[in-house]
C-alpha cells in the first residue's frame, strides 16, 4: 500500500481497563488506546459522535460515545443484545479489542450557546445524551437553563446513578426522573417521561430552547408530540438515530434512510430533517 493513504476500515488496538455494571444487561466499559497518539486524536470527538468497536472473531459494531470530550476517560456503555455486544460483555479488564472513529456529525454544541437545553431521555437513550449533558455542564456559563427529563421502566433501570445524583444536587441543572412502574424503593414521579412536562412546578422553556430527545421509538414519538404541542419548533428538536451499520463511513449502505447515510450525514438530525427522511426510524 502506498504511503499516506489511510485505510478507513483499519481499527486501532485498545485495552479494556475496567467494567462497571449499570443496570440489567447494561455495562460500562472503560478503555484506552494502546497508542497514546491515537488516544489524543480520538479524544477530540464531538458529543453525539460514535465509534466502530471490534471484538475480534465476532465482528464490528457501532456504539455511541457517552463520555464528553471534556472528560479524561474514554468509555462505552452497551446493552448485551446481539453477538458483538455479547462478546464485548464477555471481555475482562486487560483484554484487547479495537476501535475506530470517531464518526458522524455529532451535536453542534457551539450553535446552542446562549440557549436553554432540554434533555429528554428514555432508558438507554441516555447513553448518547450523557455526552451532551456533561459537555453542557463543563461549559455551564455558555448556556441558559439546563433541564434533564429521564424516564426508565423501573427504578432499577436508571443508569449512570452517580451522574444522576450529581445532576439532582447540582444548582445549575434541573433534573427530573420518572419510572413507568413504581416499586417500594421508589418515591419519585411515576408515569411516562412526557408526563413530567405537565407535573406541577415544572415549566419547560419554549423560546430559545433546544430539546434533545433520545429513547425507544414509541417514547420518541410521544415526546415529540408533547414538545410540538408545547410550541417548540421542529428544527429545535434534535435527536441521534440508531441504525444497523457495518462501516461507519458511508459505504456499506445499511444505515441509509431516505437521502441520508446516518453514519456520515448523521447520526444527529433535527426533527425537521427526520420527518423529511420519509422512513420509519
Amino acid at each position: 500500500m502506498s504511503a499516506g493513504a489511510e485505510n478507513i476500515y483499519l481499527p486501532k488496538l485498545a485495552v479494556l481497563d475496567r467494567v462497571q455494571d449499570e443496570i440489567a444487561e447494561v455495562k460500562t466499559f472503560y478503555w484506552h488506546f494502546e497508542d497514546p497518539e491515537e488516544q489524543r486524536r480520538f479524544g477530540r470527538f464531538r458529543p453525539g459522535q460514535f465509534a466502530q468497536v471490534s471484538v475480534f472473531g465476532t465482528g464490528e459494531f457501532p456504539l455511541s460515545l457517552p463520555p464528553s470530550p471534556t472528560e479524561a476517560q474514554t468509555f462505552f456503555t452497551a446493552r448485551q443484545v446481539g453477538s458483538c455486544s455479547g462478546s464485548l460483555h464477555a471481555l475482562k479488564p486487560g483484554d484487547q479489542f479495537a476501535v475506530r472513529g470517531p464518526y458522524g456529525n455529532g451535536f453542534p454544541m457551539e450553535d446552542y450557546y446562549g440557549k436553554n437545553l432540554v434533555f429528554v431521555a428514555g432508558g438507554i437513550g441516555l447513553i448518547p445524551l450523557r455526552s451532551c449533558i456533561m459537555y453542557a455542564l463543563a461549559h455551564r456559563e455558555k448556556f441558559q437553563r439546563i433541564q434533564i427529563f429521564l424516564g426508565a421502566r423501573t427504578s432499577r433501570d436508571l443508569m449512570y446513578r452517580e451522574d444522576l445524583r450529581r445532576w439532582e444536587q447540582s444548582a445549575g441543572v434541573e433534573c427530573h426522573l420518572t419510572v413507568d412502574r413504581a416499586d417500594p424503593a421508589w418515591n419519585g414521579h411515576v408515569g411516562v417521561v412526557g408526563s413530567l412536562f405537565k407535573k406541577p412546578g415544572i415549566e419547560v422553556p419554549v423560546d430559545n430552547t433546544i430539546a434533545f430527545v433520545c429513547g425507544p421509538p414509541i417514547m420518541f414519538r410521544f415526546v415529540i408530540k408533547d414538545l410540538l404541542n408545547m410550541g417548540l419548533p421542529e428544527r429545535c428538536i434534535v435527536s441521534t438515530l440508531e441504525r444497523y451499520m457495518k462501516c461507519g463511513v458511508g459505504k456499506c449502505g445499511h444505515c441509509c434512510i431516505g437521502v441520508a447515510y446516518v453514519c456520515v450525514d448523521g447520526p444527529v438530525f433535527t426533527y425537521e430533517q427526520i420527518k423529511k427522511l420519509g422512513e420509519d426510524i
Binding site: L13, E60, Y244, C252, H254
Partner: protein, 370 residues
Amino acid sequence: MKARILNHDQVLTVVDLLRARGYEVIAPFCRDEESRRDTFFDVVTDDNRAHVRVHVANPFYPPKRYVLPHIERLFRIGTGSGTFDIQPTYEHPKRAIFGIRSCDVAGIWHLDRFYLGREFRDTYYEQRRRNLFLVNVVCSDPNVDIADECFCVCADTGPAARDHFDLQLMDLHDGEFMAVAGTPAGEALFANPVFRKGTEAHVERRRAILSDVRKRFKTTTSWFPATVRYVSQGKILDKTWEEIGNRCLECGGCTYVCPACTCFTVTDRKVGPDEIERVRIWDSCALGGFTRMAGGHNPRKAVHDRRNRRFFRKLAHYFIQRELSMACLGCGRCAAVCHGDVGMPSVVEMIRRAMGETGRLSATAGGEQS
C-alpha cells in the same frame, strides 16, 4: 479522442498486447454454442484465448467483482503472540477487462464515484481500481450482444460508451473494427502496426451502425426520466410500492447481478488456530436482515419498504447529484433474473400505469391524490 482501424481477425491482438505488457486479461466466454446466455468473464490463458468472444450476451455475473469481489478480505488478525496483530491485505493486480460492455463501463464509473468520490476513500477499491485497464466493446450485433432486457439506450449509457474506458472497440461489420482510445494508456497501444488510420467513411459507418442498433432494443421506455422525477418527489403512492413489493420474492438476485450496487456486510471468521480474518461480503437491501438491529427492531420490516428503498436509492435526484452518476445503467440484468418481474423496466412500467390512474382519479375527485 484518437481512433484507428484494425482487421476483424486481428482484434484479439489487443488481448495479446495487454498480456505482453503484464496484464492479467479478463474476457467474456460462452459455455457452448447452444446456451447463448450462459456466458461468463474469465482469465485469458494460452489455452482458452481462441475462445474469447467479442460478440456475446453480457454475462449475468457482472465484472464488478474485479474491483469489488463478492467476498474480500480486509485484514488478517494474528492471535498467536498474546496481542492482536492486525495485518491489512491489499491486492492491486495489473488487470485488464477485455470486452466489457458500455453499461458495465458506466457501472465501474459509478463505483468510482461512490467509493472514491466522497470524504472517505475506500482503500481496497482504490488499490484494485488503480491498475485496471478497460477495453470496452460496443454492442453492435443486435442478435447476439443485445438481450431482450437491455435498455441502456434509456439510461444513456450505451450502446457505445462515450467515456471512462481506456480503449473502445466497435465492429464495423465489414471485416474491420474501429478502435477509440479513451486514455493515454489506450492510445499507447496504437503504436502496434495492426492499427491503421481510418477514413471519414469509417466514421460514417460507425454512425450508421449505432443509429440502427439504437432502434433494435426491445425494452425501451421514455418514462425513465419521469420515473426519476416521481420517485424523487415522493409522488408514488404506497399502494404502488405494495404492488411492486408483493411481486418481490426477496431473493436478492437483482442486487447481486447489479453492476452499480455497492452494499456490503462485514464479518470476522476464523481461518486457522491463531488467525482470524475480517471480510466484507456483498449484501442486499432486498433481504429482511439488512436493516434489522441487534435486539430485533427492524425499521424496514415490509417487503415493499425494501423495494421502495432499492428504487429510491437508484433513481432519486439527490443520489444522482451526489454521485454525478445514476445507480441504474440499463444493463437489464435485474429484469432478466427477477422471478417476480420487478426489475427496473417493469417497475418503471408499473409506475407509469399507476401514475396514469392517479391522474384520472384526481381529475374526477377534483383534488391532488398524492
